[in-house]
């Protein structure tokens, strides 16, 4: 559905995107993951034809975005990083303009009603966009992207700046869209792409460092050998006790006291489950464990893993 070949984009002598290639099948939800400035937006802007690549090619459903821009752009719905909204229009006027702009040839009123229903902007459709909250603006932006039912939908950081409830709503919406459409979204939050996407492409400094199914990536991350334990007991002694347990590599703590308890971060080797031992040793000394939770790998750690080649890079 979307094919990207040796895409390069240079700004001055800095390579924002440096020779990336991948292919996305119909019906896939793909997440672009990377820190700010990794080249996510640049790549998306090239896929949608907003900027031209220095070299390389983008093909949408067999149409080259530069040779047949009109045909290719008809197949894409795009939500840029900052939703392109006209503040002095009402929601309905805006969507109606986007409908005309895309030259859609089905019943306008019916289609706009469907879209409003889908992204839940029905109750604000007659309000001026400038008076809407950020969450609603984002939804109107998404509505604009899905008008005309394009087979490919591209969302650049769709959940940035939203509150947790809105984030969940937008995620569900995107997951729903993914049932019928090919979706590409970008994010710098690992858990977000894990939650939504079938496949994750990790980019850093303009290069793809991993391109894997989410399930596979989760397995890599599952080797995460770190948890947080909160223990009520004397700080130094507890730390000493835990670090002496077989299999524990490192115990760190931020030293912040909560009542008589401290939180310790325990790194251990993958082969041993040290949690039982910790429980027993602490129980012997009558230092109760108040909390125990796994610590997810951060994006930075994921990078380290892949860059070091331990991630089973394909």
């Amino acid at each position: 559905m979307v094919e990207i070949k040796n895409l390069v984009r240079r700004f001055g002598n800095k390579y924002a995107v440096d020779d990336i290639s991948f292919e996305i099948q119909r019906g896939e939800i793909v997440g672009f993951l990377g820190p700010n400035g990794a080249g996510k937006s640049t790549t998306m802007n090239m896929i949608t034809g907003y900027i031209s690549p220095t070299s390389g090619a983008v093909t949408i459903d067999g149409k080259d975005i530069f040779d047949e821009p009109t045909e290719a752009k008809k197949k894409i719905g795009f939500l840029p990083e900052q939703p392109p909204l006209y503040m002095d229009m009402t929601v309905w006027e805006y969507l109606s303009f986007v409908f005309d702009l895309k030259g859609c040839d089905f019943n306008k009123k019916e289609h706009l009603n469907e879209v409003c229903e889908l992204v839940k902007v029905n109750d604000v459709r007659d309000r001026l966009i400038k008076n809407l909250s950020k969450g609603y603006k984002q939804r109107v932006g998404i509505a604009g992207a899905i008008i005309g039912n394009p087979p490919v939908m591209i969302f650049d950081e769709p959940t940035v700046g939203l509150d947790p409830k809105q984030i969940i709503e937008i995620r569900n919406l995107i997951r729903g869209l993914g049932k019928k459409h090919t979706v590409i979204l970008s994010s710098h939050i690992l858990s977000e792409v894990q939650a939504i996407c079938d496949r994750i492409i990790i980019i850093n400094e303009g290069k793809i460092i991993a391109d894997q199914k989410t399930t596979k990536l989760n397995a890599v991350l599952g080797q995460g050998n770190r948890f947080k334990v909160k223990v009520a007991g004397p700080y130094k002694e507890v730390q000493n006790l835990i670090s002496k347990i077989h299999g524990v590599n490192k115990v760190t703590t931020d030293g912040v006291r909560d009542g008589d308890a401290y939180t310790f971060i325990v790194d251990h080797s993958a082969s041993v489950d040290v949690r039982k031992m910790i429980f027993r040793s602490l129980a012997e000394r009558a230092w109760p464990i108040l909390a125990l939770e796994g610590v997810e790998a951060t994006l930075e750690e994921l990078f380290v893993k892949f860059i070091d080649g331990k991630g089973g890079l394909e």
Binding site: S52, T54, K73, P80, Q82, V98
Partner: protein, 241 residues
């Protein structure tokens, strides 16, 4: 293209721009019309001096229509919507151009009311208004307006700062307009020819006397075309970075 045209027209009237343009244009043009014809020291139906002033007037008025055109789209990032939609850049430029031209024509349309009292009050014998001259002047003004709008749209594509777009446009228009005023002071023949060729005012003359000058027509249309084309190039170049 039609979607953009429609959006632009409605935005002229939704923001204050359209009203400001029409209000300023009508008040000032109405004032000069009166002062030069029916309320002049010797009331006359000769409208040529009025039209000379009108050309100067639209130098400051047309940029009001065009300063927002692309600069605002760029500032608010809405150009991203336009440029990723299945619409060619050229039809986008044409849509913007036609909407500004429409506003300009609405203004000129309203000014036709001025000629009613002119024909009514001073329509006697040799002093009666000259219809051909009037038509020639109107046509010339429309052509000059087209050039100015095309130049204004081109400038607005260059900057995201609206006041800058306005000032730069006025500066360019004034330069093009007054260029032949320097001619008398320049001794070198070929520079004078070039300046003369560039001068927008220079070509205005024939029309104001009611003569249909086809070379001037082509000149104005070419200037319009060139700047709209340049505007399209600006977007192509920016895409390449």
């Amino acid at each position: 293209m039609f979607a953009i045209y429609k959006k632009e027209i409605s935005s002229y009237f939704k923001t204050a721009t359209g009203y400001i343009f029409l209000a300023c244009a009508l008040v000032i043009s109405g004032f000069f019309f009166c002062m030069n014809t029916i309320m002049a020291d010797k009331p006359t139906s000769d409208i040529s001096s009025y039209f000379y002033i009108m050309v100067l007037l639209i130098v400051v008025l047309c940029p009001i229509l065009t300063m927002r055109s692309f600069s605002e789209e760029r500032k608010t990032k809405t150009e991203q919507l336009l440029l990723t939609s299945p619409v060619s850049i050229f039809s986008m430029v044409i849509g913007k151009f036609l909407s500004a031209l429409t506003m300009f024509l609405i203004f000129l349309g309203i000014t036709t009311i001025y000629y009613i009292p002119l024909f009514a009050t001073v329509a006697n014998g040799a002093n009666s208004p000259n219809g051909a001259m009037l038509l020639g002047n109107m046509l010339a003004l429309i052509l000059v307006g087209m050039c100015f709008i095309a130049i204004g749209i081109f400038v607005s594509a260059l900057t995201e700062n609206m006041p800058a777009a306005y000032i730069i446009t006025v500066a360019i228009l004034l330069f093009l307009l007054l260029i032949n005023a320097f001619n008398a002071y320049i001794g070198i023949e070929w520079i004078r020819v070039v300046l003369d060729w560039l001068s927008i005012y220079g070509r205005f003359n024939a029309f104001t006397h009611g003569i249909f000058d086809i070379s001037a027509l082509i000149y104005y249309l070419s200037i319009t075309g060139v700047f709209l084309f340049l505007c399209e190039r600006v977007f192509q170049m920016r895409r390449l970075g």
